[in-house]
């Protein structure tokens, strides 16, 4: 027992001694997916000071650099979970605290996921050792149409993991929104318009005693930058008719920024979405009419949107987002390929496109000189369920491929035969 504790202490010390970001790492001879052009079949990636400093063939290792042989392996940008609750709860059910879920009416638009994120949550290493290095996390408040403010996080487990606070505001404009607005879509859009007015007229109407038409003061304050076009509205919406209404609304309010999360019926309005330049975060496994707003759901939604020129990312759909399985986004993308999407578009949809949708595409999601060095080395095609990372770097730091799950695995390893 004492021995075991000592061992644990040693392991813990290793885990917390973060490798110096200043170190140079040369990943040599892998199949490099840059997301900026064709793959390099035998390419090298050089990392220094937390950034990619070169991508190409036969790069020379600087003195003192760690050289990683990636021959036969794949080298890619880190995966970006475009929608997740990772880091917001240790265990989702069983009555344990769940910071993703905001109940009651005190706070909705003001709910702030970034301030609830805990980099020490078990799911963080479980997720990153599968190649997911960044995530967009969102609260799900249920008091009004507004589910709260989401943040962008690194999964490196460090104290400063949240790299963009209040990056987007989640809005329910489908069945759930209709339910909250009085049970009908007929009420939903007027409520949305009133809420945006409340936010724009904050603090005047609140200080004057007039108060908000639909929003509390705290929500109006939080919503104001988004209502003024300074932040992204991430809209939960599935039905084709609702998407058309959103497109009309977006045209009438050109200063506002929208992206769709859901979009099960987006293929029916793909041309309109492309013209309106509204991106979609979709779940390629949604193919059942499980809700009345998803009657036309189909497996090749991603392929059809891609063909129409719609920008899209891949993530679990509204209702399927969770705190523990963000890692499955790779399998989602693989299934989009099985249903007609090109590999390049599918992989971009879990790396480059999420970064672009959330406004950090200049730094994340591609492998090119100057970008933040989120780099993953895989033992095979990352979109195949049989593949797994052999190395994960976040901002140039090597992540130990260890989690509570690998500890349990090792403890219960079957005896060698």
């Amino acid at each position: 027992m004492i021995l075991r504790n000592a061992l644990f202490a040693a392991v813990a010390a290793l885990a917390f001694a973060s490798p110096a970001a200043a170190q140079s790492i040369l990943i040599k001879g892998g199949r490099v997916i840059t997301n900026t052009g064709a793959p390099l079949e035998r390419g090298d990636v050089l990392i220094s000071n937390g950034r990619v400093t070169a991508v190409g063939a036969n790069l020379t290792a600087p003195a003192g650099a760690t050289v990683i042989d990636a021959s036969g392996k794949w080298v890619t940008p880190g995966v970006f979970a475009a929608m997740s609750e990772v880091g917001l709860s240790e265990i989702s059910g069983s009555g344990a605290p769940n910071d993703a879920s905001v109940t009651g009416t005190m706070v909705s638009a003001a709910a702030d996921a970034g301030r609830a994120f805990d980099p020490m949550v078990t799911a963080v290493p479980v997720t990153r050792i599968e190649g997911v290095t960044r995530a967009a996390i969102a609260p799900s408040a249920s008091g009004t149409l507004f589910a709260g403010r989401g943040a962008l996080v690194s999964l490196d487990g460090r104290p400063d993991s949240v790299f963009r606070q209040r990056a987007f505001q989640v809005v329910e404009l489908g069945e759930i929104g209709a339910d909250r607005a009085g049970g009908s879509r007929a009420a939903l859009w007027p409520v949305l318009e009133a809420a945006l007015r409340d936010a724009r007229e904050y603090p005047t109407r609140y200080r004057s005693g007039q108060g908000g038409a639909v929003l509390s003061e705290i929500d109006a304050q939080a919503l104001q930058p988004f209502a003024l076009g300074q932040g992204l509205f991430l809209v939960h919406i599935e039905r084709a008719a609702d998407i058309r209404e959103l497109i009309r609304f977006a045209r009438a309010n050109p200063s506002l920024k929208f992206a769709i999360h859901g979009g099960a019926e987006a293929w029916l309005v793909a041309g309109d979405l492309a013209a309106a330049k509204i991106p979609v975060i979709l779940d390629p496994l949604v193919n059942l009419p499980d809700r009345m707003e998803r009657l036309a759901a189909r497996l090749d939604n991603a392929a059809l949107l891609h063909r129409a020129g719609v920008k899209f990312a891949i993530a679990p759909g509204p209702g399927s987002v969770d705190a523990h399985q963000a890692r499955l986004v790779l399998q989602l993308a693989g299934n989009a390929v099985a249903n007609g999407l090109s590999w390049d578009a599918a992989f971009a949809a879990i790396t480059r496109t999420p970064a672009e949708i959330f406004g950090v595409g200049a730094d994340l999601g591609t492998l090119a000189a100057g970008r933040t060095a989120d780099v993953v080395v895989w033992d095979g095609d990352p979109l195949d369920v049989q593949s797994a990372p052999t190395a994960v770097y976040i901002a140039g730091r090597a992540m130990p491929l260890v989690s509570r799950q690998t500890r349990l695995r090792d403890r219960y390893m079957p005896p060698a035969k």
Binding site: I91, S92, G93, S94, A96, T122, A123, V126, A240, E265, L268, L285, N287, L288, P289, D290, R291, M292, L295, A296, D322, A323, H324, Q325, R327, L328, Q331, G334, N335, V337, A338, N339, L383, D384, V385, Q386, S387, A388, Q405, T406, L408, R409, Y412, M413, P414, A416
Partner: protein
């Protein structure tokens, strides 16, 4: 006139049933079983699937092999088979051929799409012991989920009630039949019933919050034991009655015939478990709770067919192997409640490595569409942990082992001559992300061909988007 036509059809169907179900095991009761299967495969022509890589479901892999299907059965697996005249030839070179996937844990039909208040039909939570209910009486044959499952290579599925109470009720084995107008048309002929039981957090949460027993783990176990004690008594009463009745009937029949005890549907099901006619499927996550469940089974002398979910099965692989109890598992679900906190990606391969009967199950209308990928994850994670596991062995987790757990291993689950021709032709190695089921056969009948619109259920037929798309 209006009534006579269906009657004629029904009698035709029954006649057809009688001629094609010679293998059905006789029911223990002398009266016909209620809600009997009326499933009859359509007539099929012989099919020869040529030159594929065959994973036979028994652990074997054969390159460039042919699979011959005749009269709804597997008639041959091997090199350069001779096909009967008129056989349909399928070129499977570069493709893979496997037994159909069997999902031992599905709620299709009882929690169908669309998910509405009106369709939440899977768990009679009104009391902790609802062993009297039968899942088949909640199955909606028009659930669009059935056709999606077939497109994922599913040929047989076991529908269970939910896990919110100690005894959820009887489960039923179905074929995912398109156009079935009743659940009877989907029921797998001769498949035994199961009983769904549940360990752990679900029942104690559901009843505890109602300030009712069980509110705790110990309340759960007391509930199981009291119910089986009653079932034993019930069994005993009926045995006594049968003894008296047979003495009366073989005697001079003077005086009153003995009176039969009152029927109790709940205890009938439990008594079926005690007698081994009904297979026990026990929802249980934690290792320690599974060990307690094994002791309950020992105390009352029944067998557990499989633990379901069994997130910590890897901790007790030795027990499971020794007790001959299967574990039906997800590849990687974890963390959604405390009893799922210790989930690891190697659960399935570790149970297998311990000599146990490992099963990949779905418990999901999404997961059931790609259980092959779940097996692929388990296979690769097992290999990465240093275990030697072949593709052929991984396929036993999807067909032979679930067939065993639901009591139909003598009928299907592997490409063995004489077994049902439940077969899938895959576009590529099905233990990857990209393979799709190109052709699916149930009892030798082609039920799915990739690229051809699957027959929509009545619910989907005529929806505006379909009319527009075609």
């Amino acid at each position: 006139m209006r009534q006579s036509l269906p009657a004629v059809l029904a009698s035709l169907a029954l006649a057809a049933c009688a001629t094609t179900q010679a293998t059905e095991t006789p029911k223990p009761e002398s009266t016909p079983a209620p809600f009997a299967s009326t499933y009859t495969p359509k007539p099929s022509t012989p099919v020869i699937i040529r030159g594929g890589t065959v994973l036979d479901g028994e652990g074997g892999e054969f390159a460039n092999a042919d699979v011959l299907l005749v009269d709804g059965k597997v008639a041959g697996v091997g090199a350069a088979l001779t096909a009967p005249a008129g056989a349909t030839e399928i070129d499977a070179r570069g493709k893979f051929v496997t037994p159909g996937i069997i999902d031992a844990h599905s709620h299709l039909g009882v929690y169908p799409a669309p998910s509405l208040q009106a369709t939440s039909d899977g768990n009679e939570l009104t009391h902790p012991n609802s062993a009297e209910v039968w899942a088949e009486h909640s199955v909606w044959p028009q659930d669009p989920g059935f056709s999606r499952a077939v497109a994922g290579g599913i040929t047989t599925l076991h529908i269970l009630p939910g896990s919110g109470n100690l005894f959820g009720g009887r489960g039923v084995t179905l074929h995912p039949v398109f156009g079935a107008r009743s659940v009877q048309e989907m029921k797998y002929p001769g498949a035994p019933y199961s009983l769904k039981m549940a360990c752990g957090e679900n029942p104690s949460r559901v009843y505890g919050t109602r300030n009712q027993s069980p509110a705790t783990g110990m309340g759960n176990v007391a509930g199981y034991r009291q119910a089986f004690a009653k079932a034993r008594e019930y069994d005993h009463k009926w045995a006594e009655y049968r003894k008296k009745l047979s003495a009366y009937e073989s005697g001079d029949k003077k005086g009153d015939a003995p009176t039969a005890p009152d029927r109790d549907l709940e205890l009938e099901t439990l008594s079926g478990v005690l007698n081994g006619e009904i297979l026990l499927q026990w929802h249980c996550y934690r290792a320690d709770e599974m060990i307690v469940a094994l002791d309950v089974a020992r105390e009352f002398g029944f067998r557990i067919s499989a633990f379901h979910h069994a997130v910590e099965a890897y901790k007790i692989a030795d027990h499971l192997a020794r007790e001959n109890v299967c574990a039906a598992m997800w590849a990687d679900w974890w963390g959604f409640k405390l009893e799922a906190y210790d989930g690891i990606r190697e659960n399935i391969p570790f149970v297998h490595a311990g000599g146990g009967c490992a099963i990949v199950h779905s418990d999901s209308e999404v997961g059931i569409q790609r259980l092959n990928q779940e097996a692929a994850k388990a296979l690769s994670d097992g290999r990465r942990a240093g275990l030697e596991i072949s593709r052929g062995v991984a396929w036993t987790w999807l067909s032979r082992n679930p067939a065993r757990a639901i009591g139909i291993a003598d009928k299907t689950g592997s490409l063995t001559v004489g077994k049902a021709a439940d077969v899938v032709v895959w576009s590529a190695d099905p233990l990857t992300s990209y393979a799709v089921a190109e052709r699916v056969y149930i009892d030798g009948v082609p039920v799915h061909e990739r690229g051809r619109d699957t027959t929509p259920s009545d619910f989907e037929l005529g929806q505006s988007y379909r009319e527009r798309a075609q």
